[in-house]
Symmetry: C2
Subunit: 366 residues, 2 copies
């Protein structure tokens, strides 16, 4: 394994808006993102936490250990040969998606200033995590399945692989893959070559890239990125007052919706305008309804859901009359009748996670 | 089966606030409700839609039919003898819980004016629906499991048994029971004697009482109470403009929280006061955090979660300083980072379902 210290490799499209180069973090402009239901690999958002590891496929080994009857070490060929192949079209979203809006309330220092671009939808191919766990024989006392990456991340003076865990029941779900392909192509280095986890319905951070280790265990992962980062705190908690154990360990995504086009600040003529966006429900819930306002939230119209799949985002579209001074607003409901909170103040948290306040876009209507 | 036309039988506690006597609908005062984590049978809310049927246990038969390999007819004794016994402590909530607050926005004509009393938590005993379905052998094409009651409800000139369905995956969950006992006692007539369904995490309407029929089928139930009632519409839809097929078929409950004590309008002395309430997350999610404001929502404190179980509500408590003019407000987050919408206007719908706006209680602080 050699880390690549120049991460802007050929597979990163120049149209990505790069929020950080080391580690590589970036996402596509929203109108581009909304153009195709399945995001192309080169426009798929990247959220890395350290240098991109270049893994030698011949030397690669995946270790399955912990509370299992038969610990395993699998080469890439063994992983592919021993288990049936499956695919799932699934949306992954960074927990920091839409973070930049939170700056209107208060800063979230040291965090990536994501717009609504930290999201993408791909067809993932690989083997089921559940099949691999069945081969290892998971003990009854294993309530969580933890993942560890090959990558080397440094936080607070310590260097370690990125990691996290999901509950056992989720890990055994047919939708959770150990993926080696993305939209029919092998994973690129920035997306986790040769193998990554794909956990549909959960925050992106659990879809660990450059997967090295699977560990069945009693408790959730104690990796920094689960025990401290990727936790949700009350709006009143700050970096100075935080007690990490008080934070909600993030898991399933909350209901969310985003206006992609017209983009914020766009100049558009007054009159009829097609507004398009995406919405996402978490866990195994679906998006039930999207409403859009062209007057800052006073009146609402129901958007048409144009394309969706069980583990994917929902694309929506609506034609609205735009007048000068228009502020577009979007809000969605999921199949469990959850809807989005109205104000950024409600969801603000010092790490800037899971912003699902109503999405507002100011336009320059002439 | 004889309908009871005087439903205020001995098992209805006189402390229940009766919203309607025919059909019987009522719930307990909130301070009483909050006193015990497990609600006593006589204080458990009742939401019936027709006369209470009095079922002869010797003649009772449960029919399992539809897309099954072996249709079954089970007597009460067969149901009890053929399947292992299980219990689950689970909260049921009427989809109309908290409806009366919505009148602040606009009326919801013809609907029961529930306060926050349409909810209760009990230990249910019986057999697993999944075990009964396994005995019948559910076909692969059965995506939904429908229930029908013995009761006779009249709507729009037609008389039929109350009914509804849940998705197959939910029906096979270990938590879904065909219950014949409630807190160790046989079900009383108003709660569904001799057998009712208990579907934890879903709106109460799917926990069909006086169960007569289980039907495995391709599509959701076309019973009135699923195809028309118990659907969620946009705030802009009214009884005059409704197209029933546009409504979200209710299923899992959304995140919710309620202040039980002090009760709205209570006279309390200024100074420290213990505030108590309940919170409920839907599906298999849990309540992650409850916050309470003593100043109408300007500042918030985190309440202590004092008691909860996987399929039950969460009891919470907090000590706050109350000043004259105090408005208490509660809001909660679930483990999927969903939180409650702030305003009643956002959730208002003409049927008055699933109000989960921030719960506000005005007190008379002296």
């Amino acid at each position: 394994m050699r880390p690549v210290h120049s991460p802007l490799s050929a597979d990163v499209d120049p149209r990505l808006r790069v929020h950080s180069t080391e580690p590589l973090v970036g996402g596509p402009p929203l109108p581009l993102l909304r153009r195709h239901f399945v995001t192309s690999n080169d426009l798929f958002y990247v959220r890395n936490h350290g240098p991109v590891p270049l893994v030698d496929p011949a030397a690669y080994q995946l270790e399955i250990s912990g509370l299992v009857h038969t610990p395993l070490r699998l080469s890439l060929a063994e992983l592919r040969d021993r288990f049936p192949r499956h695919s799932v079209t699934a949306t992954l979203m960074c927990a920091g998606n839409r973070r930049n809006e939170l700056a209107q309330v208060a800063p979230t220092p040291g965090e990536v200033p994501w717009g609504a671009d930290g999201i993408g939808n791909a067809e993932w191919g690989g083997v089921r995590l559940g099949d691999v766990l069945a081969a290892a024989g998971v003990g009854d006392d294993a309530r969580h399945v933890a993942f560890g990456g090959v990558d080397q991340v440094t936080r607070h003076g310590e260097t370690f692989g990125f990691g996290g865990s999901i509950p056992r029941d989720k890990a055994l779900g047919a939708e959770v893959l150990l993926a080696d392909s993305m939209n029919g192509a092998p994973l690129s280095p920035v997306h986790g070559y040769p193998v990554r986890v794909v956990v549909p319905g959960y925050l992106g951070a659990r879809s660990v890239k450059w997967l090295a280790r699977i560990h069945a265990q009693r408790d959730p992962s104690d990796n920094y990125f689960q025990s401290k980062a990727y936790r949700l705190f009350s709006p009143s908690v700050t970096a100075d007052t935080v007690r990490w154990e008080d934070g909600l360990m993030l898991g399933e995504n909350p209901i969310n919706s985003v206006i992609c086009t017209p983009e914020a600040g766009a100049s558009v003529p007054a009159g009829r305008c097609v507004v398009q966006g995406y919405a996402l429900a978490g866990g195994d819930r679906r998006v039930a309804r999207v409403e859009v306002s062209a007057d800052g939230g006073r009146t609402w119209s129901r958007a048409k859901l144009t394309e969706g799949e069980r583990w994917s985002w929902e694309f929506w579209e609506i034609e609205l009359d735009l007048a000068p001074g228009t502020e577009l607003v979007a809000r969605a409901w999921d199949t469990a009748s959850n809807t989005q909170p109205e104000r950024l103040e409600t969801v603000w948290n010092f790490k800037g996670y899971m912003n699902n306040a109503w999405h507002r876009v100011r336009l320059d209507v002439r």
